[in-house]
């Protein structure tokens, strides 16, 4: 069964376009999606997934299982950075370990969306509130990452007032103000803000002016699958370009970025079983735990932990963990789900 799931995933349009992108880089094609078109697709996908999630949340309501699941997801986004940090610290300095740990505590929306498409093809149900879980897992991981980085900073690296003056960083008069910046990066960075905002709007429209839902449908629902294919074509190109950077990454990090996903997915499976989630929600929960952020978290880490090397956390999350999850992870997690989680 598992191998047929892998095949079904490999032969789906989104994954094939992802391969097309990867292959293009490997064989030396000059195919590229010029900037800012990838941004257009990334904004579109966040808006659409948020809106649809909010819409379904309005239908399902905020019952106890919904709240429990969301709570479990947020807890995972706090715990995964901690355990990852301890492991990464074996080989990396505190800054890099903290930044990478934050990335793996957080999520990749495109991996989540690809998993949803996969469930759609398999005709397995899942719930809109999983998008709420997705939306709420970015910020905690960022906050934990920053705390870990500060805690592991050498004593003399704490910024002195003089430093801050020179830095021209007008907003930071002291530690408390520094926190404002961290929270801003964690909760207000563009992608988190758009996702949560669209979720709220989807909820409000579904609750108060349902006539609008049908009019949004061609944009947020019908177009979605094709736009995902187009974006995955670009993701394939970018992921393959990042693969080249892995030379400087080292075997330890490569191992981490390929082993962390299935391990975190297994923990996600356990939690899902305890929560009594259905098969579809379980797969999505596993994917949330297994995936790593290459948009919101890197943007935040770059600003708040500039000592860490961005190419380490971007290359692992985007060049290895993302392809692993999209190509092998999703069908693998689905096979586990089918084995351990009873149908409906």
């Amino acid at each position: 069964m598992q191998s047929s799931l892998v095949l079904q995933n490999l032969l789906s349009a989104p994954v094939l376009f992802f391969f097309l992108g990867i292959l293009g880089v490997l064989v030396g094609s000059d195919l590229e999606i010029p900037s800012p078109l990838p941004k257009l697709f990334s904004l579109y996908l966040l808006l659409a997934i948020g809106f649809k999630g909010g819409m379904e949340l309005a239908h399902s309501g905020l019952g106890p299982q919904v709240l429990l699941t969301i709570g479990a997801a947020v807890t995972m986004s706090l715990l995964v950075p901690l355990t990852s940090f301890l492991l990464l610290r074996l080989r990396l300095d505190g800054y890099n370990a903290a930044a990478i740990a934050a990335s793996y505590g957080s999520i990749s929306a495109v991996t989540f969306i690809t998993a949803e498409s996969f469930l759609n093809v398999l005709e397995v149900n899942f719930d809109g509130f999983m998008v709420a879980a997705l939306a709420l897992m970015e910020s905690p991981a960022i906050v934990v990452g920053v705390i870990l980085a500060k805690l592991s900073a050498p004593a003399d690296d704490v910024e002195t007032p003089g430093d801050q003056e020179n830095g021209g960083d007008q907003e930071n008069g002291g530690t408390s103000l520094r926190w404002r910046e961290v929270l801003q990066e964690a909760f207000l960075n563009g992608s988190v803000y758009l996702l949560i905002g669209s979720l709220v709007i989807g909820y409000v429209v579904a609750a108060f002016s349902p006539a609008g839902l049908e009019k949004m449908d061609p944009f947020t629902e019908k177009l979605f699958y094709g736009a995902l294919c187009f974006f995955l074509l670009d993701m394939g190109i970018v992921a393959a370009q990042r693969l080249r950077d892995l030379r400087q990454t080292g075997a330890f990090l490569i191992g981490f970025s390929l082993l962390a996903p299935p391990v975190h997915a297994l923990v996600g499976l356990l939690v899902s079983a305890m929560l009594g989630l259905g098969q579809g929600n379980t797969l999505l929960f596993m994917v949330l735990c297994a995936s790593a952020s290459y948009i919101a978290v890197p943007a935040a880490m770059r600003m708040t932990v500039p000592q860490a090397n961005p190419s380490l956390y971007i290359s692992t999350a985007l060049g290895l963990t993302f392809p692993f999850n999209v190509v092998i992870g999703i069908p693998l997690y689905m096979a586990l789900t089918r084995h351990f989680i009873p149908v409906g």
Partner: protein
């Protein structure tokens, strides 16, 4: 007058522009979507959508007297976040 050219990640753009204005410069220009290579590796256009972002190119024309102030404001930012800055001479047209 002096011409200052800065190349840095667009993530830090806001801070850099604020620092330029705070240092007393009357104007600046910004070009986004810049790619390139530097001490900390290659920045390709494909990263524009990711958290890494692309680079930005900032050009500032200032009176000679202001150069020191702008330089003092910018150097720590470039040191902290990466990026390069260069100065040359120019005259108003």
């Amino acid at each position: 007058m002096k011409r200052i050219d800065l190349f840095l990640s667009e993530r830090e753009l806001n801070r850099v522009c604020k620092a330029i204005t705070a240092a007393g410069a009357k104007g600046y220009s910004v070009m986004r979507h810049v790619t390139g290579m530097g001490p900390s590796g290659e920045i390709s256009e494909g990263m524009d959508f990711s958290g890494l972002g692309a680079n930005a190119h900032v050009v500032v024309f200032v009176e000679d007297a202001l150069l020191a102030a702008v330089g003092k404001a910018l150097r720590p930012l470039l040191k902290r976040y990466g990026g390069v800055g260069f100065v040359s001479s120019a005259e108003p047209l």
